[in-house]
């Protein structure tokens, strides 16, 4: 088994399931280590880890109470919270910078959203985070979202092919995908979305219900994740990190995992070693304003009922 159902359960402990938003990426290592290194168990929690194929799946899993925790891109959660009154709360931020980039061919670089006016951009899935991201950035840079065509090109590596073919002039991809393309000898021009608007990084979410009823569990989970994150950002632990990670994604080679880890570590540390896992409420404010401005949300919400940045202090107190 991939470690989710093993015998090392904690007697008398509570069971909590974490559902990833999209398979197992190296970025999920903190959560994996929290379980595999026994941090969760130390706090009396039986951790389970399951995967899914998309943000919406993961969010619905939370709402169905099939799982309790997930880590998703904040754009999606913000939109559903504002528009649908979805009862999510955010209690930690694992990645302090956007994992997504606007990528284009180096020969025909796309330098800002203006370059995309009337053109097509490749996104990962229709209606998903990358789609919303394009809207948001377009508004930020004074382009009407409708003036940018979207084509679902899937993975960044495949999107590159469509760019060569001329179907799209740019695409949204991850740093890892860019690295893979560059290793294959392609020249890629890329800029991080953070250079246009600083939105929060991937954040841990749970339901309002869980927070209200089991605040202590949420805090313990966060503490375990924090320790997992601390473990990951330390290059000394890379070998062990990769070993843990590979219990869930056995297919990845050690070298590949190392390469991805090298790409991911700066994102974890983007706000500084002392600010790991910190949630920046002002970024949420900025994001909410931008979303409202772009017409992606119909109303704004009181972020103090959504973002619980101070839980981190309680968690740190446990460590």
């Amino acid at each position: 088994a991939c470690g989710s159902d093993d015998a090392e359960t904690v007697k008398g402990g509570v069971t909590r399931t974490y559902q990833s938003a999209l398979g197992w990426l190296v970025g999920n290592s903190p959560e994996i280590i929290a379980k595999e290194a026994g941090y969760l168990a130390e706090y009396g929690i039986n951790g389970k880890l399951v995967s899914s194929t998309g943000t919406a799946q993961a969010l619905q899993g939370l709402l169905a109470k099939s799982s309790e925790y997930s880590r998703i891109q904040p754009l999606s959660s913000m939109i559903t919270i504002a528009n649908e009154d979805a009862p999510f709360v955010v209690f930690g931020t694992s990645v302090q910078a956007s994992a997504f980039e606007m990528q284009s061919l180096a020969e025909k670089p796309v330098k800002s959203m203006k370059d995309l006016e009337g053109k097509s951009v490749g996104i990962i899935s229709a209606g998903g985070t990358t789609d919303q991201m394009v809207d948001l950035m377009a508004v930020r840079q004074g382009v009407k979202p409708k003036d940018i065509n979207r084509k679902v090109t899937g993975l960044g590596t495949a999107a590159h092919q469509f760019a060569l073919k001329g179907d799209v002039v740019a695409w949204i991809g991850s740093a890892t995908e860019r690295t893979a393309l560059e290793e294959a000898g392609h020249k890629i021009h890329a800029w991080s979305f953070d250079s246009v608007i600083k939105v929060p990084g991937d954040s841990f979410v749970t339901t309002r219900d869980e927070l209200d009823k089991n605040r202590d569990v949420v805090v313990k989970v966060l503490a375990a994740y924090y320790r997992g994150l601390e473990f990951v950002v330390d290059p000394k632990n890379d070998k062990q990190t990769i070993e843990y990670f590979r219990t869930y994604n056995r297919e990845i080679t050690v070298d590949m995992a190392q390469a991805q880890l090298d790409v991911a570590r700066p994102l974890f540390l983007a706000a500084g070693r002392n600010n790991i896992m910190k949630t920046d409420v002002t970024q949420w404010d900025t994001m909410q304003d931008a979303l409202a401005q772009a017409g992606l949300i119909e109303k704004t919400v009181d972020l103090s009922t959504v973002v619980y940045a101070d839980l981190l202090d309680e968690a740190l107190a446990l460590i």
Binding site: G54, T55, A56, L59, Q60, L63, A64, K65, S76, I79, T80, N83, E84, A86, S125, A126, G127, G128, T129, D131, R150, K151, V152, T153, G154, L155, A158, Q161, F162, K165, D167
Partner: protein, 268 residues
Amino acid sequence: MKRTSTFVDRWLVFVTTPLLALVIIGGWEAYVRLSGVSHFVLPGPGDVFAALKTQITDPYVWTEHVWTTFVETVFGLLIGAAIGIASGFAIGKSRILDLVLRPFLVLIQVTPKVALAPLFVLWFGFGESSKIALAALVCFFPLMVNTAFGIQSLPQGHGDMATSIGAGRWFRFARVELPHTMAYILAGLEQAVVLATIGAIVGEYLGGDKGLGRYALNLQSNLQIDLLFGAIVLMAVYGLVLYVATTSLKKVLIPWHESVRLTSRPSK
């Protein structure tokens, strides 16, 4: 006895179907209330029907989504049917072609197409063609299997008769084999029309900017689950309508077949 049962046949369905529908909706409502399942996972029937009402009165839903999917389904079905029936006859009539071709046709069918989506898009573009191709590829199989089965079930006497009157290949095909196989083809078509719908919708899930699949995907990412279930109901009804249209072909094409003949025989 006969009159009554025809009468019952004709009218009962107008009573039972709504009744059964009510039971199902009632069960759904009860489940939603008693289990306390989140409305983000399963909204109550009331919410869904409210959503459905706004959807079916929105012309955009019809002109963009339903129409797009319909066109994709129909073209996909036509292409898939052509491939399926042709290959079914080929492998049904020739043991050698059967042995040679069938493995590959089965391979095409069992290969998970999701992973091949980028190739589809690369070959057929982002537009409707790639969805049509997917629908065709998904729906040809039952037609192939059933056509082959039908042609292989040709009663020996029919074939002998054709031989004895000196029928040429084409005549034998058009006047003996095809009419006999028609019933089997139609049974395959019943399944193909459903698969073509699914294929088109899955294709839209994988990419595209119109159609019911894309629409549902948007609604799901927005967690507009009541609208999503409205869309699901819409898709289901849409598929059902296509299915019913297909099955009614039977009465036109094979009125002589045992499965169609209205029997006046005593009930057993």
